[in-house]
Amino acid sequence: MSRSDVLVDADWVEAHIGTPGYVIVEVDEDTSAYDKGHIPSAIKIDWKKDLQDPVRRDFVDKTGFEALLSDRGISNDDTVVLYGGNNNWFAAYAYWYFKLYGHQNVLLLDGGRKKWELESRELSTEVPSRPKTSYTAREQDSALRAMRDEVVAAIGKRNLVDVRSPDEFAGRLLAPAHLPQEQAQRGGHIPTAKNVPWSKAANEDGTFKSDDQLATLYRDEAGVDFGKDTIAYCRIGERSAHTWFVLHEILGQANVKNYDGSWTEYGSLVGVPIEIGEGK
């Protein structure tokens, strides 16, 4: 994978609006933005209602994913073009999720909703109707997703990249600074993790930095060993999906997993090691 295989710009998306075989999808946790206006022809996926199991803390299963995509009119051969708010966090999460269930052709709009809005490009309130399909997913690709026992075993052996803000990494905050801080779990980070906030990989307009800038950021400045396997985590796994996208899809690193349990799971586990402060 490389940048040109996975990222498209706004001009490209404008040129592909309404093109058969391409489905533009806005993904967010708060879908009210879609309802107020979205890229013409785009459908929406609700990160919580559509992608999370309503009872267990887990994804919808393979059958549920098949039902979702069939209902939204996405077929196995379609190229799915994802974008969203929050600097594409949830769109990157959906990208990772689509790959997890084996969808072949997935692209991400560089800069997402923010760049589109800041450039005053057209937004529509018309909700498209797509004929239902019969989508077939693959079993989850375990090469892309890390679970907690694997994370604990990786301490000191693999790269652990904590992509939260420095204050969350150090244990001074328990959530990003746009959210209330009352949380159940302990503060801090997984020992040996490098702190590379997701925001360092993005420009102010939400686009990704250049390949050279990204390689310098992770390898040279943070000390991520590109010869080792890597697990990225954050608080719930969407910011780290953004970093998974950078490392695996843009920089082409071979073995990168997203730990979607992330700090809300790890920071609540009994008996696991936690480090606080700036890191070592």
Partner: protein, 101 residues
């Protein structure tokens, strides 16, 4: 507790009781006295270090739950608008900022 980490437009609404435990920075972005509903507020630390970002609400509003300290508030809006100001935050205090663009 929030299920996700997303930033709703205008920032998360909280109860008066909860506000006492937080260091809140909130305000509105206005153009000629009218709310700017399309745009983004970014909270930055020392050396332009990114802390958080929220899309502006319908009323041009934003809200952050910062750590106590000194911060820079930057506003981005269509038409190349990019303006900033210094703000401070402390636990139990609501720092209100009005930004004209």
């Amino acid at each position: 507790m929030n299920d996700g980490c997303g930033a709703p437009a205008g920032g998360v609404t909280i109860t008066k009781d909860a506000a006492g435990k937080e260091a809140i920075v909130e305000g509105r972005v206005l153009r000629d006295g009218a709310p700017v509903a399309t745009g983004y507020a970014r909270l930055l630390g020392t050396g332009d270090e990114f802390v958080a970002e929220v899309p502006l609400g319908e009323d041009g509003g934003f809200r952050f739950f910062a750590a106590p300290g000194e911060w820079t508030l930057r506003v981005l809006a269509p038409g190349g608008v990019r303006t900033e100001c210094a703000v401070s935050a402390d636990i139990g205090q609501i720092t209100r900022v009005e930004v004209a663009v």
